[in-house]
């Protein structure tokens, strides 16, 4: 089927705010005809070049490699130079609202201050730490299998779309965030790197580290380069155990507790798991909820705990398939 280039009429509402002159931000509406091949950046450029020269946004390479142009359209984080407007119309209809990645950090219009993003990025030492020979005699060979481990972590362009879509960042300013975790993994899985343990220690701190991720998959969904940060976060968790960096705390015991529970019952012993993770003292804080749950028949008595049929089979699997120790 042969098609010619289609066009559509849309209304675009753009977040405007000039920190020098405006007291409050506002939305300005523009009506445009867009074509099938237009990306969001084309829309912004047209507004800037044909309607309002003062509209400010970051852009540079315009082919998805510099990471400067990320914005939100109807709350979806996008790389402006990659996201096709027609795809957005399919999702949201013909009224598009373009916002900065984070409204609290706006400098001007769609330009935000990414200092928090970069500070956390720096915290994981986003570079190879190795004694590199000044005048090497031969290449430093890395095998395809070793490269495979780094996986897609290396494709990150630091656009910040994941970071400013992460719900934990919004409520916990200490949280290092998906992009920096993915970068940490990029080096902890690089066999030439010498700072693996140090990085794993940084990313496994309670409060700021990987254990504070709520596993919402927003970062995996939004990433325009398919870095899949939550997948890298999971691998960092695993590495902290593999490398003996994991300390015994409520989070690590919780993860390990699943194994014990499965081994004993097949299913979880939810109460037992919380007890194992929190310890007797930590348990106290859960008492009000536990009482409530008990009253409402949400806590089975030990003799009523569900057990899997074929429990012996599960025990055997846990025995032969376990690969991690704690």
């Amino acid at each position: 089927m042969e098609k010619s280039i289609q066009t559509k009429n849309i209304t675009v509402k753009v977040f405007r705010f000039n920190g020098d002159t405006d007291v409050l931000p506002y939305y300005k509406e523009y009506k445009l005809e867009v074509s099938q091949e237009d990306v969001v950046l084309d829309v912004l450029n047209r507004i800037k070049w044909e309607h309002s020269g003062s509209l400010s946004y970051r852009r540079s390479c315009r082919h998805g490699i510099c990471g400067s142009c990320a914005v939100k359209v109807n709350n979806k984080g996008v790389l402006a130079c990659k996201e096709r407007v027609f795809d957005l119309i399919d999702l949201f209809g013909d009224e598009l609202v373009i916002d900065p990645l984070n409204k609290q950090r706006v400098i001007k219009d769609l330009v935000i201050d990414k200092k928090d993003f970069w500070d956390k990025y720096d915290a994981v030492q986003p570079y190879l730490v190795a004694d590199v020979e000044e005048e090497p005699e031969k290449e430093n060979l890395v095998t395809p299998d070793e490269v495979e481990k780094i996986a897609d972590a290396d494709y990150c362009i630091q656009c910040g779309a994941c970071y400013y879509s992460c719900p934990v960042i919004e409520v916990n300013p200490e949280f290092i965030g998906p992009a920096a975790f993915a970068k940490a993994y990029r080096f902890t899985s690089d066999n030439r790197d010498d700072a693996k343990i140090e990085r794993l220690e940084t990313v496994s701190q309670m409060g700021s580290g990987v254990w504070d991720c709520v596993k919402c998959f927003e970062c995996a969904q939004v990433c325009p380069k398919d870095v899949n940060p939550i997948d890298k976060i999971t691998r960092l968790h695993q590495q902290t155990f593999q490398e003996g960096v994991a300390e015994s705390n409520v989070a690590t015991r919780h993860a390990v507790g699943f194994k014990h529970s499965i081994e004993q019952h097949g299913f979880l012993d939810e109460g037992g798991l919380v007890f194992y993770s929190e310890g007797p003292l930590g348990m106290v804080q859960h008492i009000p909820e536990a009482v409530n749950m008990f009253k409402n028949g949400k806590i089975p008595m030990p003799w009523n705990l569900p057990k899997s049929k074929n429990l012996e089979e599960i025990k055997k699997i846990v025995k032969i398939s376990s690969t991690a120790k704690f």
């Binding site: 719900p167 709520v214 909820e289 409402n296 569900p306």
Partner: protein
């Protein structure tokens, strides 16, 4: 309907323990709709993304084993929990696309006489109703429409994100503007309300180590629904349910509000509209009682 629907039901842990009402209501609804659910009693926990943090291989083998029992029933697997859905389908996806990995896993499974083949699909109950049973068919069976109720859908993360994984088993739900639950609420006669947090995270998976984070996220969701004038919320995920119902008080406190809003499981809402008595749907198990029913 041409053929009777039949699934291998993977209950997960929560529906057997802290949200028994979920299993109860699911079975009641299935019976009423004539859907056959064959419970996989041999199954183990899916690892809930936590075992995955510790031991990737073990969690793969355990999930593959669970899938084997759906395969031996020659039925697609149906799940009741978003996180089960995520972990099972992530396992399936990895094994189906990586033969080497599949061989490794099957080597372990062969020790207990099993083999993962990859022939059973895995679907959340929500999408089994929506995609397989069909909303039109459901509408025909509604006898007690939830008229005059404003209902806040709460989707939960692991059914909609990442869409690259879930897309083919959730009708291509768009994670930014999901609408399956909205449609279901409408089919049951209720009025879905729109609010910003409906596709956001409840924070469950960091409950123990970062309760402030989890409570704030749940608190935002609850107040979002309240402010949108919802009479109650509905979720397809028992873990979201725990955070929104059992921990409602703390969640409200975390965002400086007193909230009091019932949260129903998806099959409870369907069940009510089908005219099933509230007790059979386990409404009595909730901490915040759904006083309307």
């Amino acid at each position: 309907m041409a053929k009777k629907l039949r699934y291998a039901l993977y209950t997960g842990c929560t529906a057997k323990e802290s949200t028994p009402e979920l299993l109860k209501s699911t079975l009641a609804v299935a019976e009423k709709l004539g859907i056959e659910l064959d419970i996989i009693e041999e199954a183990s926990c899916c690892g809930a993304s936590h075992l995955q943090d510790f031991d990737d291989h073990l969690s793969l083998v355990l999930n593959a084993r669970n899938l084997c029992y759906a395969e031996s029933r020659e039925a697609p697997m149906v799940t009741l929990c978003n996180t089960c859905q995520l972990n099972v389908s992530m396992t399936k996806n990895r094994l189906d696309f990586d033969n080497k990995l599949k061989d490794r896993v099957n080597q372990d499974l062969s020790e207990v006489g099993l083999e993962y083949k990859g022939v059973s699909d895995v679907k959340h109950f929500l999408y089994a109703i929506l995609e397989d049973y069909g909303l039109e068919n459901l509408k025909k069976k509604i006898v007690k429409p939830l008229k005059n109720f404003n209902v806040a859908p709460f989707y939960g993360c692991h059914n909609i994100r990442p869409s690259s994984l879930h897309g083919k088993n959730n009708g291509g739900e768009n994670p930014y503007v999901p609408n399956s639950l909205d449609q279901l609420i409408e089919a049951c006669g209720g009025k879905p309300v729109d609010y910003e947090e409906k596709n956001k995270c409840c924070g469950f998976h960091a409950d123990l180590q970062a309760p402030e984070t989890a409570n704030k996220l749940s608190g935002n969701a609850l107040t979002g629904a309240v402010d949108a004038d919802a009479d109650f919320m509905v979720t397809p995920c028992p873990l979201c349910h725990l955070n929104l119902d059992v921990k409602q008080k703390k969640a409200g406190e975390a965002v400086g509000r007193e909230v009091n809003i019932p949260v129903l499981h998806l099959p409870q809402v369907i069940g009510l509209a089908l005219g099933i008595e509230p007790e059979k749907l386990g409404l009595n198990h909730h901490v915040v009682k759904a006083v309307y029913f």
